[in-house]
């Protein structure tokens, strides 16, 4: 069986998205420069990673980006069987004050698709948040992207509910404590090749539509 695939909308070229976003880049000079630099770094990441696609970019207020990554994504289990889909669409935002005030772990990154994300440090739709742990002030967009990738592929995880940083989904925490064979879903880095078939995803039941 094949995992659920997300249809990719027709997206302008990343460089075109960047040019459009730069045209409306606003704010203090330092903030505009920071956003432009982060946007270019995000494009470099997309160029470097064969699995990452930039879907949207807005620099008019906060830094806001939408991107998809082909990767194993844990979804709500059917019975005791974890479901895994092969693509996630991330919604990333970065507010100016985060350069000097650290954001909460769940603030910068959310997952728009799949809707039934299932992980101890993630919360499913409608919130779609991913906890990235303690985030330092002035973190870069590149670091947020990488932290998000590692969190969703369960290469980094937190299974202790009483940890001061906490977890977002206690039920998923309990599930993964009992099913540690899923940790991690892949050891591939963002820049590595990853093939859903090689990862055995074809053996996993397809999600209910």
């Amino acid at each position: 069986m094949t995992p659920k695939e997300t249809t990719t909308p027709s997206v302008p070229l990343a460089s075109e998205l960047l040019q459009r976003a730069l045209a409306t880049n606003s704010g203090r000079r330092e903030w505009r420069e920071f956003k432009a630099e982060q946007a270019r770094e995000l494009l470099e990441l997309c160029a470097k990673s064969p699995r990452m696609t930039l879907l949207g970019l807005d620099l008019s207020g906060d830094f806001a980006a939408l991107y998809g990554i082909a990767m194993p994504v844990p979804c709500r289990p059917i019975g005791d069987q974890l479901r895994i889909v092969s693509r996630a669409i991330f919604n990333l935002r970065y507010a100016e004050e985060w350069r000097w005030q650290p954001p909460a772990g769940f603030e910068p990154l959310g997952v728009l698709e799949p809707f039934d994300l299932f992980g101890p440090n993630m919360v499913a739709a409608p919130h779609g948040g991913v906890c990235l742990g303690h985030i330092p002030a002035g973190i870069t967009v590149r670091e947020i992207v990488l932290l998000g990738y590692f969190a969703v592929t369960l290469q980094t995880y937190q299974l202790n509910e009483v940890d001061p940083q906490g977890i977002l989904n206690p039920a998923a925490c309990e599930y993964f404590r009992l099913h540690q064979e899923w940790l991690p879903l892949t050891r591939a880095g963002l820049f590595d090749e990853w093939n859903p078939a090689d990862a055995g995803l074809s053996a996993i039941p397809a999600p209910a539509v």
């Binding site: 008019s60 954001p103 002035g138 940890d163 940083q165």
Partner: protein
């Protein structure tokens, strides 16, 4: 004591009004070396962020001096071992520091107005901060000091930071940041890259999370915290009474109780500081939010209505919310906190704001759609501020009339 419902009903101030009316308690007492101080201090307002080992003692001393109105915030409660270091009793364990210190200050001096809240300083309305003459940072985290520095620079206030040295637990310090002047240093100017990396957000992610700052009590000897508090109060009094010589603005004064040595160090302005150091332009617009729109407010503030204007409020902007029932993403377009119910989906489900739909600055599309909507429908409450910027600097408009207690809703 009365508790008044506050901004979006999650924030509560404990308020103690003057008990006997002005001047009824006793004749004003001018203390030695503070000639004519009583009358002058009675019209001043001071904000204290952090009411622990240093801040609690600062609050007490300011109450004794008869500062007219005191505002204090602290999000924490006392634990059983707080008695070793903090100005509290064994029986206060489990009670909020804000409530205990407010009650204590009121018992010490019933003639002054006291407002305390169990909350983060970052959640205090700008109007309250703006109305205070001096801000005191007595929190035990750098994040608070940096945030207060940015806000003090914006509102043109002096920030006094009292602490015990991180390197030596017998050394008390006070730093005075005269942030009316953009050339002055702020608490962020002196931070190294490693110290910036250590700044931690005040909230954890999970609902089951305990104190994100690990919950451990300070272990600093109470006499050193007391010295830090006294240094802070001395600088605050110099500032409030326009003393000559004035406070050590732009400097740090450190006193070691072991060696009895004192250091006075200039705090240099770091040209590469991440903090904005920008002074905001402030406008008061007394009209009710129901009668104002973003467009009319902008015109009142003398800002041209162009597409390049950026707008922000005291609360985040909720752009969209995904419906928990039908999974559709709905445009909400109003100010609100994450978790607030900000609308209803056409399917009938309540829409609660989530971090993914929040923005700190209103996106251009939303702004175009909301320019002529009454501010009350955008979640702007009377007494709160809306900020506009067309370039480098922000202009904040305080909407509506302040409440009877100085607008500290």
């Amino acid at each position: 004591m009365t508790t008044i419902a506050n901004l979006n009903e999650r924030q509560h101030w404990h308020r103690w009004a003057p008990a006997f009316g002005s001047g009824a308690l006793a004749r004003p007492v001018d203390l030695r070396g503070l000639h004519g101080s009583a009358a002058r201090l009675s019209i001043k307002r001071v904000f204290v962020a952090g009411l622990g080992a240093v801040g609690g003692k600062v609050f007490e001393n300011l109450a004794r001096l008869g500062v007219g109105e005191l505002f204090g915030v602290d999000p924490d409660d006392y634990s059983v071992d707080s008695l070793f270091t903090q100005p509290c009793e064994f029986g206060d364990a489990g009670r909020s520091k804000a409530e205990v210190q407010g009650k204590r200050a009121h018992a010490i001096h019933p003639e002054i107005a006291i407002h305390t809240a169990r909350r983060w300083a970052q959640d205090v309305p700008l109007r309250t901060l703006r109305d205070c003459d001096v801000w005191i940072c007595a929190g035990d985290n750098r994040e608070l000091a940096v945030w207060l520095g940015v806000a003090a620079a914006g509102l043109g206030k002096t920030l006094i930071h009292g602490a015990v040295s991180a390197d030596d637990s017998w050394t008390a310090c006070v730093r005075v940041f005269g942030l009316q002047d953009a050339a002055q240093s702020c608490p962020g100017c002196g931070l190294s890259a490693a110290e910036w990396a250590e700044l931690r957000h005040r909230e954890g992610c999970g609902t089951l999370a305990s104190d994100p700052n690990d919950g451990s009590s300070t272990r600093t000897p109470p006499h050193v915290c007391g010295s830090a508090a006294e240094l802070v109060v001395a600088e605050a009094v110099k500032l409030l009474l326009d003393f000559e010589p004035g406070p050590c603005t732009g400097e740090e004064v450190a006193y070691c109780q072991k060696s009895h040595r004192t250091w006075r160090t200039t705090l240099p302005r770091n040209p590469h500081c991440r903090c904005p150091h920008d002074r905001w332009t402030l406008h008061d617009v007394p009209d009710d939010p129901e009668r104002l729109t973003l467009r009319s407010l902008q015109l009142e503030a003398g800002i041209a209505v162009t597409e390049s204007v950026r707008v922000r409020g005291e609360l985040p902007w909720v752009s969209t919310v995904a419906c928990p029932r039908c999974d559709r993403r709905q445009s909400v377009r109003r100010f609100g906190h994450a978790g607030d119910v900000v609308g209803t989906c056409p399917c009938g489900a309540a829409l609660a704001a989530s971090p993914m739909g929040l923005r700190s600055v209103i996106p251009l599309d939303d702004l175009a759609a909301c320019r002529d909507v009454p501010l009350s429908l955008l979640g702007v409450l009377p007494g709160t501020a809306v900020g506009f910027s067309t370039g480098e600097r922000w202009t904040y408009c305080f909407v509506g009339r302040p409440t009877e207690t100085g607008g500290s809703q």
